[in-house]
């Protein structure tokens, strides 16, 4: 039986396990990833089975984690590093942006940097500050990096396999509030390309584009809208760099309307890029301006306010109504 029903966190765990079994050069590194199995238990049991030499508890130093992973990659290893939470990635941002992203180009292609940086991201878990942010656009903006985010267990499993196998650095954003959502994982399936978008719900009146934690909200919005007779298509982007614009374009040219949804602040966010590209590609097919739903230009609020800040069902449906009103 190769199909299992797994929560996303466990799917990633199984994926890491398979990668380590397959390739002795794969390492897991990060704070608390060993005995504890990570604060979300994503690496649970790996150190027990693969040893401290391959599942490496690191000092509490994010720049050091990424910087040494770069060195290990130069030596021929394939490190998968965990940044414990989204807001903690910034001490490592320098190493990721000035070193990890550029070294392949600086070496005129002579060296490869197969490093995966795992970042549990996003809100909705009632955490304190620095534990609920969505900084994906900051990474997608950087040439040399690839940025992906699964929204379900099967993608969590397979996209991790593909990220580890990639010779490029991949920033792998894990939707932490979906860690416990279960889904079917076929560990012997043949996965589609890592950067291909996927249509989650078919529809004809409007396209909702989302990724990671917002895919579920958008699918629920589509179901709610269907009860009112509206046919909403939901596209799961899966990859924020590169973006599968062809898939978004095809959907928009079918529906004529586009709303992009993400948790990150709207200003300069992924939605801005998608809106601009689609306006350029599909100008004559659009029945309404591309709308965006996302976070505000404000620090992520205290937990008691996060439901106000995060795009929920009502805010998505409100945007759907505004678009359809054109």
């Amino acid at each position: 039986m190769t199909v299992q029903k797994l929560p996303i966190a466990k799917a990633i765990n199984e994926s890491l396990r398979k990668a380590m079994e397959t390739d002795p050069k794969v390492l897991v590194m990060g704070e608390d990833v060993g005995k504890l199995g990570g604060v979300f238990r994503v690496t649970d049991g790996l150190q027990k089975d693969f040893g401290e030499g391959r599942v490496i508890d690191t000092p509490l130093a994010e720049s050091g984690i990424v910087g040494t992973a770069i060195g290990l990659a130069l030596r021929g290893y394939r490190p998968v590093v965990e940044i414990q939470f989204d807001g903690f990635v910034f001490p490592a941002y320098d190493q990721i942006v000035t070193q990890l992203a550029k070294m392949h180009a600086r070496a005129l292609g002579k060296i490869k940097l197969p490093v995966v940086v795992r970042i549990p991201y996003g809100g909705g878990i009632g955490a304190v500050e620095h534990h609920s942010e969505s900084p994906e656009a900051l990474f997608a903006h950087v040439p040399g990096l690839k940025v992906v985010s699964p929204s379900n267990a099967s993608d969590a499993y397979w996209m991790m396999q593909q990220a580890i196998q990639s010779d490029d650095p991949v920033i792998y954003f894990e939707p932490k509030r979906r860690y416990w959502d279960k889904g079917e994982v076929d560990t012997e399936a043949i996965p589609g390309p890592l950067h291909k978008a996927r249509t989650v719900v078919e529809g004809s009146d409007l396209t909702l584009v989302a990724y990671g934690p917002m895919v579920k909200v958008c699918a629920e919005a589509a179901a709610a809208a269907a009860e009112e007779g509206k046919s909403i298509e939901v596209v799961d982007l899966r990859s924020m760099s590169p973006i599968d614009f062809d898939a978004v374009q095809a959907s928009v040219e079918k529906t004529g309307r586009l709303v992009v949804v993400h948790e990150a602040p709207v200003f300069y966010g992924a939605g801005a890029e998608i809106a601009a590209r689609i306006s350029e590609r599909s100008f004559y097919h659009l029945e309404a301006p591309v709308l965006r739903v996302g976070g505000y230009h404000a620090p992520y609020p205290p937990a008691r306010l996060e439901e106000e800040y995060l795009p929920g069902l009502d805010r998505v449906l409100d945007a759907v109504d505004r678009s359809l009103a054109y």
Binding site: P59, G64, G67, K146, S241
Partner: protein, 383 residues
């Protein structure tokens, strides 16, 4: 040339020092020195080298040619052939001494001033000039010479060296890794983190800090309140201060630290106490922040002059050697000059090359747009 003889770290003597029984003075143990500024061989209780006259001449040749190369690059910048140059003038002993301590299978992580170390690794010096001319960001394959690309961001490479060394240890290899950085970089968090990681994982890495006294206009006093080599103690590994203008001492100390790393005993911090005789880079004006007297005092400690004095006094080199080296220097200068002037601008499509190993849709799209845009001019040019 490679210097093959070993410089075993002598066991620390428990008895009081025996003095200059062999006619050699004993240097300050806090600053490892084997050759005084006057060119006199001295002893150190912990470090020594035993080199043949040929090996000594080899070190001298390395330093002279490196200085000549550096001078040529500075001149080329003044002539507009290079956009920038970071001179190593004054630091030849630190770089040649440490560079010649390395084995072929060791791996080097330099800053952007390690022209002498690159020389020791066999990197063609003209390849170092591409980034300063603006035709690339590093013109060599790091794995060809085990010499990583120059790193501009201060201190970042110390973490890469540490990670690489962790990999060496995992592989069960007995190679060592050396990371170069300056006194300014010692203030960076990455350097502190590399000390932590290397100590925790017992990584076979040598941290070679060239304290050249100035981080652009900021003196070492603006970086630290304790001598830099003493920092190692807080991380749990040894720190050594060596006379950075003494090529023999730099060789002995680095070799000892590398051997320690090979034995699985972990990292060492070497502080090569030296002086940057020129500007930080050709964009800098050191007359605005430092006194002439300071430079003059350091000129008296010149690394090349002291070895020349020693070679001449001991009869290890004759006039013919010095004359032939002079000729070789001029040939090198000419070769470098011609190579730089002949360096072609990169193909414009290189903008889109090697950004990703596995490709990226956006890069493909923009490459095609750029090519089409360029092609749109072809008709106007009558092509």
């Amino acid at each position: 040339m490679t210097v093959e003889s070993t410089a075993a770290r002598k066991p620390r003597r428990s008895s009081k020092r025996t003095g200059s029984s062999a006619g050699k003075a004993v240097a300050d143990p806090q600053l490892v020195q084997l050759l005084t500024p006057e060119g006199q061989r001295v002893e150190h209780p912990d470090y020594d080298v035993d080199l043949t006259p040929e090996e000594l001449r080899g070190l001298y040749r390395d330093m002279v040619l490196t200085r000549r190369f550096d001078a040529e690059a500075t001149a080329l910048q003044r002539q507009g052939e290079l956009g920038l140059w970071a001179s190593l003038l004054g630091q030849e002993a630190a770089q040649i001494g440490s560079g010649r301590a390395l084995r072929d299978d060791d791996y080097v992580f330099p800053t952007y001033r390690e022209h002498g170390v690159a020389w020791c690794r066999g990197v063609d010096p003209t390849n170092l000039l591409g980034m300063f001319r603006g035709v690339n960001h590093g013109g060599w394959d790091p794995n060809s010479n085990n010499f990583h690309l120059y790193t501009i961001v201060i201190g970042s490479q110390t973490l890469h060296a540490t990670g690489y060394a962790m990999g060496v240890a995992k592989d069960g290899a007995d190679s060592a890794v050396i990371a170069y950085f300056g006194d300014g970089a010692s203030s960076q968090g990455d350097v502190a983190e590399s000390f932590t990681f290397s100590a925790v994982y017992n990584a076979p890495v040598v941290f070679f800090c060239q304290n050249n006294q100035w981080a652009i206009s900021e003196p070492t006093e603006k970086q630290t309140r304790v001598p830099l080599y003493q920092r190692a103690q807080g991380y749990g590994f040894p720190g050594v201060r060596v006379d950075g203008n003494d090529v023999l001492a730099c060789l002995a100390v680095t070799r000892s630290a590398l051997e320690r790393a090979r034995r699985g005993e972990g990292p060492t911090l070497v502080e090569a106490f030296t002086y940057r005789m020129g500007a930080h880079t050709t964009s800098d004006d050191p007359t605005k922040y430092r006194a002439d007297e300071e430079r003059e005092a350091w000129e008296a400690k010149d690394p090349i002059l002291r070895l020349k004095t020693y070679l001449a006094n001991e009869g290890h080199a004759d006039e013919a050697f010095f004359a032939s080296l002079e000729e070789e220097s001029e040939t090198l200068g000419k070769r470098v000059r011609e190579a730089v002037r002949a360096m072609p601008d990169p193909d414009r499509m290189a903008i889109f090359e090697n950004i990703y190993a596995d490709g990226h849709a956006l890069v493909d799209e923009e490459r095609a747009q750029f090519a089409a845009y360029q092609a749109s001019f072809a008709d106007g040019e009558g092509k």
